[in-house]
Symmetry: C2
Subunit: 384 residues, 2 copies
């Protein structure tokens, strides 16, 4: 049942952390990996070549946005998302669920799927597990996600159970649909990437027992790999780490584990310590556009007046283009003056910071010193 074009191999472990290589139809990804978010087929403010230059090996793109505009039919006719956007490395697409729950208007959920209206033009749509699978097949990403229900935080245990069980039923339907698409032509669906893998998603809110039930049942369905969803939505941070730490042991060790939507650099370190391999988050890119830079000495708000005459780079320890060529004074000027280049330069730095942090983590794991890296990381973070 597993996808021949997709693979994963753990190469090193250090404590609970692990290093590996994930293989896709568009190349390999060194894990733990961070996936920059290219919402509409582009990481805002950064060209693909600069993205690659920052060390990105895989891109995440949003099914909800691409489905609404320019449409998965159009992208399939262009030969799929890779060709359409000119990115030849791996791509993961989400199912669209998160944006339906956070962005769309007049959303109603039924057993069938999610009815919603487009935030662009108010048009009515129905996103079912099958439809989310079809759209991603047409996009031709290397990794597709199943449609899940995104539970609000906080929720009662009963609401969380009901939602988790619906997500399980949806996951079975999504898996059935993907296997139909793999088996042969399905009318109206152009499979842009026959080697596409599909990941299941563990839900269950903040309730250990529900997450364990979800993990076991999702693994029973048999996906190419598994994600932990529905976290980093407002719950206490230690609770998130605890839930992650108690979920990963129930996921197959020979498959990558993806913590969806997280997080801060600290979140990444802590989740990796608990056996997570993949991450995505808008934090480095969105915060960059708002003038917030992640540095080895903590966060830095470039709009702050005290940087107006500061000739130092944002992070003297960073090797990115922005830190090699721009002072805080110049970056502040660009931000205050409303220049597009502020978004570009800040995003280049934040992505490099995230991706470089992961490079250093992988190196620490390879040399069996992840725990000392983790300790030092937290000591530095607490000093800033």
């Amino acid at each position: 049942m597993s996808q021949p074009g997709f693979g994963f191999r753990v190469t090193h472990t250090s404590g609970g952390a692990r290093c590996g290589i994930m293989t896709t139809a568009h190349g390999e990804v060194d894990t733990p990996a961070f996936m920059p978010v290219g919402t509409q087929g582009a990481v805002k403010g950064v060209t693909h070549r600069d993205l690659e230059g920052s060390g990105a090996q895989i891109l995440l793109s949003n099914t909800y946005h691409l489905y609404l505009r320019p449409g998965d039919d159009l992208i399939a006719r262009r030969g799929g998302l890779h060709r359409f956007i000119g990115w030849s490395k791996p791509i993961l697409t989400d199912s669209g669920a998160y944006q339906v729950f956070s962005l769309a208007e007049r959303r109603t959920i039924s057993e069938e799927g999610a009815h919603f209206r487009s935030h662009l033009d108010g048009s009515a749509h129905l996103l079912t597990p099958e439809k989310a699978t079809d759209i991603q097949a047409q996009l031709g990403s290397d990794i597709a996600m199943v449609l899940d229900e995104c539970l609000a935080y906080p929720s009662t245990v009963d609401a969380a159970r009901e939602s988790m069980q619906r997500t399980l039923r949806w996951a079975r339907r999504a898996r059935t649909r993907l296997l139909e698409l793999r088996d042969g032509p399905v009318a109206g669906v152009a499979v842009s990437n026959p080697a596409q893998a599909q990941f299941g998603i563990v839900q269950g809110g903040v309730y250990h027992e529900l997450r364990q039930e979800s993990a076991d049942a999702t693994v029973d369905i048999g996906f190419d790999a598994y994600a932990v969803g529905g976290l980093s939505v407002g719950e206490p941070i230690d609770l998130m780490y605890d839930l992650v730490g108690r979920t990963t042991p129930r996921l197959p060790p020979d498959r990558p584990r993806y913590l969806m939507g997280a997080g801060t650099p600290t979140d990444l370190v802590e989740a990796i310590a608990r056996g997570i391999d993949l991450f995505d988050c808008v934090l480095p890119t969105r915060n960059a556009r708002n003038g917030q830079l992640f540095t080895s000495a903590g966060r830095l708000n470039i709009k702050n007046a005290r940087y107006a005459q500061d000739d130092r780079p944002p992070d003297p320890e960073c090797g990115c283009y922005t830190c090699r060529t721009c002072s805080r004074a110049y970056l502040r000027h660009l931000y205050v003056a409303g220049e597009i280049n502020a978004a570009t330069l800040n995003t280049l730095h934040n992505l490099y910071f995230y991706l470089d942090t992961l490079r250093r983590i992988r190196e620490a794991i390879v040399f069996g010193r992840f725990e000392s890296f983790r300790l030092e990381f937290h000591q530095r973070a607490s000093q800033s």
Copy 2:
């Protein structure tokens, strides 16, 4: 009187066109040259490295904007504009006059200079010929422009004469001031680039006799080189070419000639045919942000619906990053979706198109076939 750090050497001629090398304190510029406009110390949407990659050898920046924000004092304390923005190649700054006339509020002109209020915060300012010289000395550009009066079009011959004569008086004051700054320390002015050259500006509206008088008198003052100002402001295009063609012979052949604010690719070819060496214009960058691309087959509006499924690059003959990696369909999607990347990718293309056109012009001049280049250029443009 001429500036030791500044030089110009004509290496080839072909008809009225000429190829040369302009030397500045920050390196050489092959002429004819186009100067991308980096209004506030950055070309909107393009990093310096991409700008260099497009072939830019010199950048233009706007004194009005930098004076108001972040201020020439702050930039001087940072070591000058080159260091502040991290651009090590030549920079030309304008005098601020054009923006005072086009952007500032409540502007009044007296013999002393231009009183105006900032478009940013309404604060009152007086820009005199001396002040414009001082600001540019603090910025430390390689080439400073004298403050001139920007005449509205159309204007009567009397108004044009009066304005031209005031520009001449201002030019003498600006020259005197620069020589004072070169001679020794002047209180309150930090000279960031002692090798800064200063260009005079020929005015006179659309009146040949006034422009000839202006040219002769400006050359008599003795600047490092000369610009033709006040054109490309709405006058008939043939009249502009005619005025340029009758002005350049009165300017010293051993100094570069700069046509300010022009223009379309056709304008560049025609002005080069009349002996112009330097250009600046917001057209390639501003139009790029509005979705208009310059191509070898004419202009292309990427927002047009007919490009939604067009897999061709913007210009199949272009070798720029955008044309090598993006289809019209993708660029249209980015533009319609409001992505910053549309501005970046379109600007990269338009700048490359302009700079590559100049490379080809220089090559044509070197091989003595500028006239056949010009003929072919117009034939292709008329077919689109």
